[in-house]
Amino acid sequence: MDASPQRPVATTSPRILAARETKIVASDVNVYYGDKHAIKHLSIDIPDRAVSAFIGPSGCGKSTFLRSINRMNDTIDGCRVTGEILVDGKNIYDRDLDVVQLRARVGMVFQKPNPFPKSIFENVAYGPRIHGIAKSKTDLEEIVVNSLKKASLFEEVKDRLAHPGTGLSGGQQQRLCIARAIAVNPEIILMDEPCSALDPIASARIEELIDEIRQNYCIIIVTHSMQQAARVSQLTAFFHLGDLVEFGDTDDMFTTPKDKRTQDYITGRFG
């Protein structure tokens, strides 16, 4: 089943893609964990200024692919990536590409809120500081405040910027993490199940936030909640056993999926 490269994908050449610039082009990407072939001959175009959702059952490779977009997989021993992923036409797996620079352009928000055990201010200021983005102290303060505002957290924390970020509620922590990612001025934001540790209200606030900022970023979100994918994304990709099964406009995916596996998955008929 593995022999053919470039397996056909039931894609409807999404309408959304035609309307926007393409930010990420992946072609024939393979990811291996040791002997395990985690992503198989994956090709996908992801548009800018839109939210793309990756859905699929556990272990289908959606998180793996997400983490290969900012080369977070580099930190895992025995992980190997072949093929190419172009961000603005530049292959991020090129030898001369600087990973640190890449990660400044491709922010990431993780499954579990993971603020640094430092003050709220320091959490957001860390990125700009190490990249030397802020010219002065007032500059830095402005970046922090703006990032917190964009993450719609500022009003809640403006009186306690010096308090530890770990003292916030789960949802606030996750928004702090988003603010931290935004502070470095990324073009792409990867979100790896950002709401899985949150209650529905906190999740809704994150979704609202994603909706607000999606005009300015290329956002990719991995989620286990199909409803969430349907709500926040414009494009949806369905992964199964390391294959990209279907990729298309979210509106189509959740009403009339093309592939039977997609249909079975989203209607709750799997396995």
Partner: protein, 495 residues
């Protein structure tokens, strides 16, 4: 009525509960036994050590005759003679040469130095008469510390007549209170009963009485000693002198600061721990300054940066094994490498510190690695996610979070080093060193070695010193642990 809670065999359930209770009882018993042993050990050592923290002095009057003591050079004065004269002045009846020597032997050899120091500090006292305490020798000191349990004083209640025939004295009258071996003190003298026959008690003079007046109740008393003279470290005559001094109110008890401020000595009453404490301190500084940076650097490299291959695996296994190597092997290593090969000075804290650093390095590396490993990976991922380099992620986030764990491991390792004896024996830190070391290359000894040395000495008073030194070592170790706990609580951060 059917009991719905009754599921399964009730006997089996009872068995389960009883086994649980048994297990808890075993645990409690084990705990109780260890607490008991520990309490016994500490109380025993404490009781033994207690006397060492005090010393006894006899207050003597000194006529600081400028003829005897040179104004211009106080250091050269004959203070030994001065002290001996002062003591003998209290016992004018002691004329025999041997007795005189025995009398002055009650004073410590350090008493003269004390007096000298006192006068050097206060030269204006020369030419006047001063009262000053003179340190007693270890045996005399011990006599007072033993709580006089061996000497029983009884007031004389009967009338006795005293007569002298040559060297011998005769008691007649109501001799019902007397017994052989007892000492009758009267008329400024002390007489030991040698025989008691038909109402006549024969006695020999330990201290010659001033007259032969008859004894009436209240004018004499009786010293009875529970052990024979041979079994005691102090003879009857000395006992009489000491009792006389005490009766005159000349014996003073002081806290023995000397124990902490003096170096080692062959005389137990003069021996102190300052040399050993300083030696331990210097050795620890050496150990810490070497093992902490090395250990943490190694741990950070191995945990965060080293590739996982066969080499790092071998290194890892070896580090774990090194932690289990007997400490004396490290001593041999130190002897071979630092002393014989590099030719570093023997008995020096420098070498001791090097050897102990090698000893605790594996412990620190293992503890630090565990602490680094315990930091949630999400923190590192977060840092990498905003574009921190691997090194920035480790040094800005992972390492600070691991600090409490590293500190705890380090302090425990250092505590182990502090208590280590064997490797230091191998590099010659076991020598008898009187002077307090002033640098890393001077000969020194450390606390545990000092304990080992003292425990080996024959003088009875050293037993107590040994126990006291153990207490000091334990207190230092407890303090280190307390610091470890404090630091951990202080730096611990939740995430």
């Amino acid at each position: 009525m059917i009991d719905k809670f009754q599921k399964g065999d009730p006997a089996r359930l009872a068995k389960r509960y009883s086994s649980e209770r048994r297990f808890q009882a075993y645990g409690a018993a084990a705990l109780a036994i260890s607490v008991l042993f520990l309490a016994y050990l500490i109380i025993d050592i404490g009781i033994k050590a207690w006397p060492s923290f005090f010393e006894h002095r006899v207050v003597l009057q000194f006529n600081l005759d400028p003829g005897k003591i040179d104004f211009t050079n106080v250091q050269k004065g004959d203070f030994t003679g001065l002290i001996k004269d002062s003591l003998r002045a209290l016992f004018p009846t002691v004329t025999d040469r041997a007795d005189k020597k025995n009398l002055t032997a009650l004073l410590s050899v350090g008493a003269a130095d004390d007096l000298r120091d006192q006068i050097v500090a206060n030269p204006s006292s020369i030419g006047t008469t001063v009262n000053a305490g003179a340190l007693l020798s270890d045996d005399a000191d011990l006599y007072f510390k033993e709580g006089f349990s061996s000497t029983i004083k009884t007031a004389g209640k009967t009338n006795l007549q005293l007569a002298q025939t040559g060297e011998e004295y005769l008691f007649s009258g109501d001799t019902s209170q007397l017994a052989v071996g007892q000492i009758v003190r009267t008329n400024g003298g002390a007489l030991r009963i040698t025989s008691l026959e038909a109402g006549i008690a024969k006695a020999e003079a330990l201290m010659v009485p001033e007259n032969l007046n008859s004894l009436i109740p209240g004018s004499w008393d009786l010293l009875s000693l529970s052990e024979t003279e041979a079994e005691r470290s102090i003879d009857d005559r000395s006992t009489v002198w000491l009792e006389a001094l005490r009766d005159k109110g000349l014996i003073e008890k002081h806290f023995a600061w000397r124990f902490f401020t003096a170096g080692d000595s062959r005389e137990p009453e003069l021996a102190g721990l300052r040399g050993a404490i300083t030696g331990s301190l210097l050795t620890l500084i050496m150990t810490l300054s070497l093992s902490v940076p090395l250990g943490i650097a190694a741990a950070v490299y191995l945990e965060e940066f080293a590739p996982k291959n066969r080499w790092t695996e071998v290194i890892e296994v070896n580090i774990n094994n090194l932690a289990a190597v007997p400490s004396i092997i490290f001593g041999l290593l130190g002897l071979a490498v630092f002393l014989n090969f590099f030719g570093l000075p023997r008995s020096a804290p420098l070498v001791g510190g090097l050897v102990l650093a090698l000893l605790v390095l594996p412990t620190i590396i293992i503890a630090s690695r565990a602490a680094l490993n315990a930091v949630p990976p999400s923190i590192k991922e977060a840092a990498l996610g905003v574009g921190a380099s691997h090194q920035q992620a480790v040094f800005h986030h992972v390492l600070p979070l691991a600090v409490p764990g590293i500190l705890t491991g380090t302090i425990l390792g250092v505590a182990r080093a502090l208590g280590e004896t064997a490797p230091l024996l191998m590099i010659g830190m076991v020598a008898f060193i009187v002077d307090v070391p002033k640098g890393f290359t001077e000969a020194a000894t450390v606390l545990p070695v000092q304990i080992y040395l003292w425990s080996d000495l024959p003088e009875v008073a050293f037993q107590s010193r040994t126990a006291a030194a153990i207490i000091v070592l334990l207190v230092i170790l407890f303090c280190l642990n307390a610091v470890a706990i404090y630091l951990r609580k202080r730096f611990e951060r939740r995430w």
